[in-house]
Symmetry: C2
């Protein structure tokens, strides 16, 4: 079973107190695809400019990721520059250049359209709707952000009616529902459509609410967080990837999926950009799943 992801492919410049990564591979769809490719065939739908380095294309291809839907058009690739503080939970966005992403309208090639699983990355809800109208997916996950919640709530709510799972940050639960309490906020989101609500809390792990059940997966306590950029997107990739590989969405699979998401996110934090994520294999994932099990076993 394959999974389609639609979202940004970017060149990120990241500064931390410990180093700087200049114009490295980034973007939500990138992290998602590299994470999910450990589990299943991934169709990446996005857009890059003429300046997008060939080595990144080769990386996607080496992972078996289908990039037929990654348009390459004249102009510059989406660029983002951010700086992390010594407390890596604090991040400043220094610059965002949408570039070719500004006129992006996702077009799904045959393979992407037919995938049974679909993830709508954090793009304008009107674009997410365009994707839904092309796709034949039977299970749809979605990410969003404060910007769309505050500027395009009606369109977002229309899309939410049609998705199975939402994977968002804890602060966005408050933005979307007004609730300070995550249990109440998740319940309010479920009433908007998604039967599965996964709330990412960064270093504090994630909570998943579905059909009367609550599941908690911690984040792996890491002594060194080199660069958390893309951790949330890697989570989504591990989550959706596991579901697609198992081709099931019962509670047991969803719980495992949340752990796999946390596993992939933990790898991403260990190096700049997707450098660590790009080098892991099934054995590394299995070992780390075991570490998560030991972390919570009593």
């Amino acid at each position: 079973m394959s999974v389609t992801v639609v979202g940004s492919v970017a060149l990120d410049t990241v500064e931390t107190p410990w180093g700087r990564n200049e114009e490295g591979l980034g973007g939500a769809a990138t992290y998602f695809a590299l994470a999910a490719a450990n589990y299943t065939r991934v169709h990446l739908v996005g857009v890059v400019g003429g300046d997008f380095p060939a080595r990144h294309v080769e990386l996607f291809e080496s992972k078996g990721i289908d990039i037929e839907g990654m348009e390459r058009i004249p102009g510059k690739t989406f660029r983002w520059t951010g700086r992390y503080h010594e407390d890596v939970n604090i991040r400043d966005t220094l610059e965002t250049q949408l570039n070719v992403f500004e006129q992006f309208h996702p077009k799904l090639p045959e393979g992407a359209r037919q995938a049974k699983y679909l993830f709508l990355g954090n793009i304008h809800p009107a674009l997410q709707r365009e994707v839904l109208e092309q796709a034949e997916a039977q299970f749809v996950g979605l990410d969003t952000m404060d910007l769309w919640i505050h500027t395009s709530l009606d369109e977002l709510e229309a899309v939410l009616k049609r998705v199975d799972a939402i994977i968002i940050n804890d602060s966005e639960v408050h933005d979307l529902t007004g609730a300070h309490n995550l249990v109440k906020g998740a319940q309010a989101i479920r009433e908007l459509g998604p039967r599965i609500v996964v709330v990412k809390k960064g270093e504090h792990g994630c909570l998943m609410f579905e059909d009367g059940q609550t599941f908690f997966a911690p984040a792996l306590p890491l002594a060194e967080v080199v660069d958390p950029t893309g951790a949330g997107d890697s989570f989504a990739g591990g989550f959706m990837g596991h579901i697609a590989r198992q081709d099931a969405t019962d509670s047991a699979i969803l719980r495992q999926a949340a752990v796999h998401g946390s596993v992939l996110a933990s790898f991403t934090c260990e190096a700049f950009g997707p450098n660590r994520l790009a080098e892991i294999d099934a054995e590394a994932i299995a070992e780390r799943c075991q570490a998560f099990r030991e972390l919570v076993t009593f």
Copy 2:
């Protein structure tokens, strides 16, 4: 096996967006004792004024708590007034009246002195040292706070050399070690003395570091947090209470203890003051332990 706790017994006035509790029973030693009394005999060492209501004394006695070491002296009981915001993680201290607590020097009666387990509540480290000099405990836990870290670090470090477990908030790990990273901070604290470091993260659960192992226990996701005052002290009471009842401190017992701590903390949050904590029984604790197990099982 019994456990001795030394710390504050107070009258708390708590305001939340949902209600107000005027001069209710409070204080770290109170919450600890009521939590730990579910597991073992507790010796409470503290001080109250002549105004301390008889019904609170009766509550302690009804739980089998030994209050021989709770001095009653002329004057007013320690009072604290605080206000929680709609986001209950934000708390303002409106007033602190030390009153009889200002001149407190703990005196341990025979029973308290002979207890095998001892918990040094959040009092000045010089007083914690005075307790250590009287006690015959074989296993010592300790709480502290930013105030002592910033004003009495030498005395605190001297005490830390002599304790087995420290149970503190995540922000205090940073205050004590300068580390933003909890893994590194906990390691630095272990080098100061305690072999067991339990980091409380409020609604985000707790991390326990000991002898090369890391354990994570979530907080129970509650739809209604009525009053989180005393949750951390209840955690310590459940943690030390379980250890004392089992009379063991191996990893398996410590992991269970951290879950019992989280269980007791969750009850405390459900009502003002120790109202819910005071009414639970072994069956309620066992049921909630099971809920914690289901929360993390995959």
